[in-house]
Structures are given as C-alpha cells and as structure tokens.
Symmetry: C2
Subunit: 426 residues, 2 copies
C-alpha cells in the first residue's frame, strides 16, 4: 500500500507510531554517520604490507636505475606508470603520476586552463568573458566546488541509468562555445553508482564541440572498484582517438581507495599534446612526485593481477554493507511510493530519492537523531537540488552493525518526513 493512497487517519496513526520510534532514537544518544565516502579500518588494514616493502636504501633504486630518494622524475616513476597503464588500459607514455590526490590533479588542470589555457585554447580561460561546465547531476560535490571557486558557470544535465543525457550534452557542447568542460565519473558514478554504457562513451567521443579546447574531465575513480565481476567500460582516450579528437578527454584516477586514501598515488592520462603542454607548466610548479611511494605501490601489487586480487578483498568488505542498506530499503520502503534508490554493483555510494521536497526534512530529522548524512543539495551544482529529493548514502565507513542501526534510523526519518509532507497536502 503506497503512502499516497492512505487516508488522513491512516497517515496520522502512522505518524504517531513513527514519532514514538523516532523519539526513542533521539533519546538514545547513539551517533551514526553515513556521510563519508571513505574506506573503513578493515579496508585500510588489508594494505598493511605496503608499509614495510621499502625499508632499505638499496630498495629505493627502481628497475630503471632511478634513485627514488632523490630529485627528478617530473611525471613519475616508469615502473609505476607501466603498472597503472596495464590496470587502466592506457599507454604509459600518456600518463602523468602525481602526489596522493587525483582531486588535486583535477583542480590543477582547471587552474592551469584558467591561467594559461590548454594547448588548443585561444586564450587563458581567465581572459574569457564566461566559462561554463556541464555537470551531470546528481554528481560529485567536489567537482562542483572547483567550478564554483573558479567562477565557472555550472549547467545541470540529467543523469540517466546509462550515463548523462547525451542529447542535452550534445546540444550544449556543440552550440555554446563558452562550454569548455564536463565532469564525468564514468563507472559507479558518484553518487548514483551507474556505469556509462558504450553508446554514451561513443556519444562523448563523437561530440563536435563549439569550443576547440572543450575537455571531458573523466574521473575514473572507481575503475576497478567492483563488488563482483569487473564491469568494463569503453576507453574514452581510445574512442576520442578514433573520432580524431584525442585532446578532448583527460582521465584521472588514484589508489586512494585501493591502498590508503591519505597516501595513495594519483594519475592523469591524456594525449601527448595535452601532456606535453601541461608538463612545461608542471616543471615550474614542482620537483616531481614522491617516487618512493610509487615504488611501494609497484612492490606491493607487482602487476595488474595483483591489484585486481587486492580489489576483491575490498569488495568482500564493501559488498555486505551495500547489501545491508539495499535490503533494508527493499524491506521497509518497497511499494510505499515514497522513495527510490540505486543498487550499485561497485563504487562507494547509493543514491536515494525521497518524495520531492523531503530531503531537507529527512536530513534535519536524522541529524537531530544522531545520524549524519551528506549535506542535502551537495550532489547538485551550487548545492541546490532542484527537487530537494536526493540524498547520497555512503555505506563504506561504518561497520555492518552500526550501518544497520543507521539505516533503520534513516528509514524512520524518511517515512516520518514523507507522512508529514503528505499530511500537509491533504
């Protein structure tokens, strides 16, 4: 029976039962958190070995003779580039390795475009009257924050089950030369968990941008973060080579959610023309990334197979958590007509849709009952969810027991906010 079909009396009676439960939660002092997309302790523990693999001077000499302790190597260690090339289906020569943060590499890429432009820009972006980015939403708040900081106008594009609405993307990119970028998380998209279909990737490669320096920011954060079988996506660099627009995509990735979030290795991959142009600026910016940490990663994984096996251990920790959340949603919310949610097969998030307008109330109810959720609106440009209905659920950090308590509490808040809304409309 859907909530919408309930009578006022039924809704009032339901509200009373929910309120009684809610007040118990409010009183019990338990603090819970489903806001943070970070690995839990168990996940960190499985990478322990990486810490102790390079402990002697002689181990700091890479296979190509590089003394990783000293200066040098602007774009990273050759053996680490080869490892990542294999894992992500790239050519090593198309890779720049960075520090510990792919976000930092994305920010720097936008910052460089702002100040110097790309290799094919008419002028630096800061000399343009207006720069616009397309933001498939719900999306990743940290992408949007970069745009906001640089004064880049964000245009919300709908997210479908197979990727962004490519008709809208095409319309904007091909008609408006102020549109210079789009943010994409092509696999296990943050927060919906959807995977871009081959058609969508090909539609990206087929774009004929009005601006010659239009760039696809391809944040491949969850490329190998499958809960089960590895789901392949098309390689955007290859697809854009085929269509004759090799400079269009820039891919980003990192081992933040493979080894350690604070001490991983980030990378970017793009055409040689793109990279060579950026390396000139990079050579002024830095003396190069931490090569010893790159060496640790090579020693730990050895090869692609090593990394894929390691990811299975992450999957074994994460899968039950996602199953816990989805099972509770199915049991408690299926058929109620007040919610929908995604069931990702990898990644770090579940996207939850409440009745329109209910997300802020759910957030507030949860907070008052000790449960922290991702800020509502965070998944949309400027923090403004047009329907006020999206909530990003992050099941990774709490242990399964805490997660059960958190979801139970969350569901009561969802129901309560929905009942209140429906009652107010009666």
């Amino acid at each position: 029976m859907t909530y919408q079909s309930m009578s006022r009396q039924e809704l009032e009676s339901l509200r009373d039962r929910l309120l009684s439960k809610y007040n118990e939660y409010k009183a019990d002092g338990i603090k819970l958190d489903m806001a943070r997309g970070k690995p839990d302790k168990q996940q960190l523990d499985i990478s322990e070995e990486i810490l102790g693999l390079i402990t002697k001077n002689e181990q700091c000499i890479a296979s190509d003779g590089t003394d990783c302790r000293n200066y040098g190597g602007l774009d990273g260690l050759a053996s680490a580039k080869e490892l990542f090339a294999d894992v992500f289906g790239l050519r090593a020569e198309n890779i720049i390795l960075g520090g510990n943060s792919s976000l930092n590499m994305m920010y720097d890429t936008v910052a460089r475009a702002y100040t110097f432009g790309f290799c094919d820009s008419e002028r630096p972006w800061c000399r343009e009257e207006k720069i616009k980015f397309l933001c498939p939403s719900p999306g990743y708040d940290r992408h949007f924050a970069i745009c906001e900081l640089f004064g880049i106008e964000m245009i919300t594009v709908a997210m479908n089950d197979d990727g962004p609405d490519m008709e809208t993307v095409k319309k904007y990119v091909e008609s408006d030369s102020a549109v210079r970028g789009i943010w994409c998380v092509p696999k296990y998209s943050n927060p919906t968990g959807i995977v871009y279909s081959d058609d969508v990737v090909r539609a990206f490669a087929a774009l004929k941008p009005a601006a010659r320096d239009f760039r696809i920011f391809w944040d491949n954060a969850y490329a190998i973060h499958d809960f089960g079988e590895n789901i392949p996506i098309l390689n955007i660099l290859e697809e854009c080579e085929k269509t004759g627009r090799p400079n269009m995509p820039i891919m980003f990735a990192s081992t933040s959610k493979i080894t350690f979030p604070g001490s991983g290795v980030a990378l970017m991959s793009a055409s040689l023309e793109n990279l060579n142009y950026m390396k000139k600026q990079l050579s002024i910016q830095t003396i190069g990334p931490d090569k010893i940490n790159q060496l640790r990663h090579v020693a730990f994984f050895k090869n692609k197979q090593g990394m894929m096996e390691h990811m299975k251990r992450h999957a074994d920790i994460l899968r039950p958590k996602f199953e816990t959340v989805v099972a509770a949603f199915e049991k408690e919310l299926s058929g109620t007509g007040i919610a929908s949610w995604t069931t990702p097969r990898g990644g770090y998030f579940i996207s939850f849709e409440s009745l329109p307008g209910c997300a802020p109330a759910i957030y507030k109810l949860a907070l008052d009952a000790g449960l922290t959720l991702t800020n509502v609106g965070a998944t949309y440009p400027y923090g403004k969810d047009p329907k006020d209905s999206n909530i990003r659920i992050a099941p990774s950090f709490p242990d399964v027991e805490s997660l059960k308590l958190a979801v139970e509490r969350f569901i009561v808040c969802v129901k309560l906010a929905s009942v209140e809304k429906l009652l107010s409309e009666k």
Copy 2:
C-alpha cells in the same frame, strides 16, 4: 701578479699552456657535473632508518588518534606541525604542511594570488594590469621561473653580503603599488650563500608597501643547513608582527635536503588571516597531504634535537666538498684579478664571479671538456645576467674525488676564457 698586468706576450704564453691542458681534458672523455644542487648518495643513505619506522597498521595512528592512512587533515598532522614549529621557531597553528615540495607550495601561493588574490587584495592579480616582483640577484632560477610563467615582471635588486640592497627594495616597495612580492632565501642564499643580517630582516619588517597585499616570499630552504655552528637569523614572522604587518611574510621550508629530496615534507607558515584565507581554497584543491610520511618524519627525528643532530651528519658530508672547491679557488685564482667567489658556511651553492662577459665562454669551454655547469644567466631574472659573469657552483652531488677533477677543469676554463678576453682587449 694579476692577469690584467700581464703583457701580451705573457698572456699568449699562458694561453698556450692552458690550451695544452684544456685539450687533454677535452680528449679524456671524463664527464663531470657541478650543476645540480642535490644531495649525494651518502647524504641519502643517512636517512635510511626513516623508511622502516612505520610498517604496521597500528603504527599509523598518530598521537592525537588520527588514522594517518585515511582521508582528513587538510593542513597536516598535528605532531609533525609541532616538530617543525620547534625546529623553525614557529607556532604550530601558523603552519600548513604540504606534499613533498616547498616549490610546489610557493607556486600554488602565487597561483592562488593570481586567481583569487590574498586576503587583503583589492582584486585577483590576474585582474591587475601589471604585477611586479623584486628579485634579489644572483638568486634562485626556480623562483624566477614562476614569475615568468605568470607574466609577473621581475625587477633585479642587487645582493649584498648581508642580504638584498634594502634601500632599493624600500624604494620600489613603497613607491610602486604594482610591486606585490619579493623572493628571499634568507639563509645561505641561493647561490651566494650569504645570510641576511638582523638589520636586513628588520628593514623588511619595517617596509610600508604601496600595495596592501605585498608579500615577502621567505624561502627558508637552508634554515638548519649549517656546515658548523648554527647561525641564527631573525624570525621574519615575529618581526612583521612587531611592526604591525603580520600578513606580509610567508615562510616556506621542507625536509627535501634533510631526509629525501623526493619524499620529504614541505611546509609554509604565515599569519592566521593569510592561512585561513588560503585554507578555504586549499580545501577545494586537495584532500590533504600524505600523513603517513609526516608520521615517518616525526618517528625519525622525535624532536628538534634529533633533527639538528641529523643535520650535523649532512654537514660532515658537505663541508669537505665546499672546502675542496674553495681551497682550489684560493690556490689557483687568488691574486689573479680574474675571479671572486663566496665562501658559504652552509647551504648548497658557491657563487662565482668571472671577469665581466666571461661566464658564457667558461660555460661553453667546460661543456666541451665534459664538465656541466649551471646554465649561465640562470641566477638572474629572465636568464639574463647583466654582466655575464655569475656562475653557480653546486658541489654537493659529486664525490670529493670527482669534485677535485671538476674544479681543476673549471679553473682551467676560467683562466683560458679570461686570457682570451684580456688578449682581445689588448
């Protein structure tokens, strides 16, 4: 007897003897290098222990409970900030820890000013018609390269034995509101090795800039890199607090030449107003620096005393190299009237002055005889040494035996170029 007082005949005879020696060098195929200001293998070896101090999961928990493996900690680990505060005479709250490169922090500071301005800027620097920086020279080429990349006009200021010519600095800073910065290496300045006197530091603090967002970029790269006794310099942050201009200085440092150049920890220190403004942007740029590496540094040094003792081991390796170079210069060039040089008590460089106009010829002669020197001009803005006389000598990387050969060869090149010049003027 000075070369200048020699007759044409004497000079010609000297030239023949030098040429004969030079041609031997040219033929022997030996490759030597005094260009690179990087630590040698011995220096890297003494930090071996730092590699093996954090090898277990439980060791990754910092004293304040932070799990250093995970996300979090935008401005660095508290215990590492405390260690550096003690070593550099700072308050921990005034420190931001970065990745492995203080150069990167300097670049980012200029880049942020360019795009967003400082806390007290009227507008971002990219919206100003012109931005100028003062560049005490000879100075550090990587500082100048940042200015050049951002289109910042560089004004050369003379370097004296106790720091930049402060009358010129004061004149520019106080009269021209386009002057927004100055590059300083206050201790063992790159490349002259001079140390700023207390008067010079106080003159900096007493500046009354025409621009309200004028900044002193205080690259304290060699703060504890003494060959003997530690030579203290005045604390620029404290001095500027006293004069009521706490936002004026930004200090940078790193452990690149303390532990490992590729895997050290960089830091910056400034007023809270400066830092808080920058942290807002930093929180969009990155998820925070590598905390495990910071933890390694804390575990390795434990406290200031530990770091100072470690620096004595570096000094014991570097001192003989500097002595080798200076002794050879004194023996071979004293009284010749064709050269002068500095005798630093710390740092990484010796500054060498040839007869005006001779540096390019010396560089070329050396290169042809297998000896690589720092590019001539590198120590001046835009790579243009107005007198074509300055050569930066970097004695740290070669072993003492190679260094002896290199200096011997260098001296012959200096003499030969000088004789040629004097002959051409006869």
